[in-house]
Symmetry: C2
Subunit: 415 residues, 2 copies
């Protein structure tokens, strides 16, 4: 496999003002494309530091990917530096200039000399057109190594990686083809599942690897196949028939990364609608579903019932239930789920009520006590969770995942 | 200033499975403590790669912070490597053993030899007690340089940095004291604000720097003061009186990082309650408020009204309004805000309705068309936004920020 070093440039990364998501996005895309990321480096907007990082990487890696330092408002330190490093000179690229002109025309702005300077690139590089921005993407080939300079703006970087850089790297280095498949299982622990499917796992060919990725309440199986770069894709398939024969009753979905994605896919495919009644999760269930385009096809809506009055007036929870059992109780969460399902006219409903922390617990109901209910037209299932920690966001996220898991379980059993 | 290199170890980081939030969290904490992060490096769980990164960093930086490779289930590659690097030997640390015993007692598990091995550390290091986990935090002093090895689990790392590592670094290197103050302004553009407060900015002493950080709909002013390590803190104050004299009418809050935090603080302090009615933001307003501990003091609840039926039945939007103007309209969003405020019995309300994208637009109402309304008992203010892009999450986030901004504006004017 070809080795890659990623260099992300930016003072804001070293000050900790911005999380370096570019490194992980690029690493994931490269890994999926048959390249091996050996290390990633962050340096500030300092010429000596960038030069040293580039020089070291060009000696140790086949491919060096550099992001940042290409903006028009601050000094184009990366471009000039690479021009010097490769002993080249800056020339105006017709391709890059045409791109800058096009983008300014779309935005209705006049092209100033500062903007036109964006089209200057080292003579020795190849410009990979950046459809989304004015900063050019530059490909340098040097002594069998490749260096690519990309803008640091995440969506431009991602578009360029997907459409320009990865395909060209795959061509240049004839990388293996990597194919992944996720299979989500539910209702069986990781070690039991591992024992159950061991015969199938042992029968997998050498070029297919299996990984177990536990996600709150589920186990994700990830199959990764490596194929020669010229393998005819239509001739390949994962040997899933025998997996379904052994463990089919535990498989709830394929090709999803998250439970929110699986819920989205399942409800969309089956034409079922959903309503939510959230207390301790405070809208996180609704927002993680509606973050996905197309959620309006199945998501009727939800109520974030933070106060008891809202539980009564918006969800129809009985006053006597709240009095007798409290907001965090099986009785209340059942009435919440049934109430929101009926009132919003949905096939299915999820409800949560609990104490997310870090404070607010009592001796009987300590921080981390959470009730979840899922309901359809004919019955309601409730479950009590007791999280050990007091970390609010973690308790919220685990509750959301467990609620999705319960919903999937109900759908798979009955719908 | 003392220079720092951060080394994060982990194959999962190089595969892009996990975003390296540790690097930015550590960088932010170090910057705030008067240290300068010069570069950050990610390497895999490979002895040679870690050794090389450590060796290079120990020659170029005063302080080297290393995370990862300390887990009990996989090989303790970091600990053994550091033991070899510093020519030491592994010994059982009584402090670390007592900590492992304590944690296993709390969890009710029996201490196995594998777990007991967690208490082995290089003889030459000082153990900084990790109250949250069994992996020891190790401090090595070597030729005037310091290397600290921390677990990679984010909450353990963060706790150790805050409680153990940073205080000891500050003692050892007598670092400057850094004090930050955020001032949020609203209702004036960045360049106008800059002109207005220029006399005040020019009068700031040399050890206080001002930065402008634009946040959707607002400008955050960040003041950073650097003081000698032995400066008496009680004698220091930022010269804010003259800023308030010049620009007081635009200042909406101090000491907040985000608008959600400012809304949380403002509502809590003023004893006002809030309800939300969200269509295109899908629960993100509610979840970003309820992510903060104590939200129940002011947040009554919310309705995620994704379908028109829910807008009618749960919020009381009139059928005729939806028929005549559509869901994405000033009339509808006003009725949503007023309806949720009344029905949930809150002092204030926020409502959103729009087309977040990437699809679903029409010629009259393209993707990115969003209406926001905020309401109190006496009146309602609505605003139309037109985002140029089709990226769903970005449009949702901008809508949330603009809604918070409008709410703060209403509160500051009237409450």
């Amino acid at each position: 496999m070809n080795s890659v070093t990623i260099i992300n440039i930016g003072d804001e990364l070293l000050l900790g003002q911005v999380v370096n998501t570019n490194a992980s996005t690029m690493a994931r895309m490269l890994t999926q494309s048959g390249m091996e990321v050996c290390n990633t480096v962050v340096v500030g907007d300092v010429r000596e530091a960038i030069w040293q990082a580039v020089d070291e990487a060009m000696h140790t890696s086949d491919v060096v990917l550099v992001t940042g330092g290409l903006g028009p408002t601050k000094d184009d330190i990366t471009k000039k530096l690479l021009c010097d490093y490769f002993h080249s000179e800056l020339v105006e690229s017709p391709v890059a200039l045409e791109n800058v002109r096009r983008i300014f025309a779309v935005r209705g702005f006049e092209l100033t000399p500062v903007n036109r300077a964006q089209a200057l690139v080292p003579k020795c590089c190849e410009v990979l057109n950046n459809d989304l921005g004015t900063a050019p993407c530059m490909w340098f080939a040097h002594n069998g190594h490749v260096l690519v300079s990309l803008p640091g703006v995440p969506h431009e970087m991602e578009w360029l990686m997907h459409n320009r850089v990865i395909p060209k790297l795959q061509d240049t280095f004839e990388t293996e083809i990597i194919i992944n498949k996720n299979i989500l299982t539910q209702g069986i622990g990781e070690s039991f599942l591992s024992d159950l499917i061991e015969p199938w796992e042992l029968s997998l060919p050498d070029n297919i690897k299996l990984a177990y990725l536990p996600v709150a309440g589920m186990t994700k199986l990830r199959l990764t196949a490596r194929l020669p770069h010229d393998y005819p894709l239509s001739a390949f398939h994962f040997p899933l028939e025998s997996l379904y024969q052994i463990a089919g009753q535990y498989i709830v979905g394929e090709d999803c990364e998250t439970l929110a994605e699986l819920v989205h896919k399942t409800l969309t495919e089956r034409g079922l609608t959903l309503a939510t009644a959230e207390s301790c999760t405070g809208g996180t269930i609704a927002s993680s579903l509606t973050a996905q385009a197309g959620a309006s096809a199945y998501f009727r809506g939800g109520v974030v019932a933070y106060s008891n009055e809202v539980k009564e007036c918006a969800l129809g929870v009985q006053h006597s239930t709240l009095e007798a059992h409290g907001a965090v109780s099986e009785e209340t969460v059942r009435e919440m789920a049934e109430g929101v399902r009926q009132r919003l006219g949905a096939d299915l409903a999820i409800a949560t009520s609990g104490i997310a922390g870090p404070d607010g617990g009592t001796k009987e109901k300590p921080v981390g006590t959470v009730w979840i209910a899922v309901a359809d037209a004919s019955h309601t299932v409730a479950q009590l969770l007791s999280f050990p920690g007091r970390r609010r966001q973690q308790n919220i996220d685990r509750t959301v995942n467990q609620a999705f898991s319960m919903l999937i379980h109900m759908i798979c059993q009955k719908h």
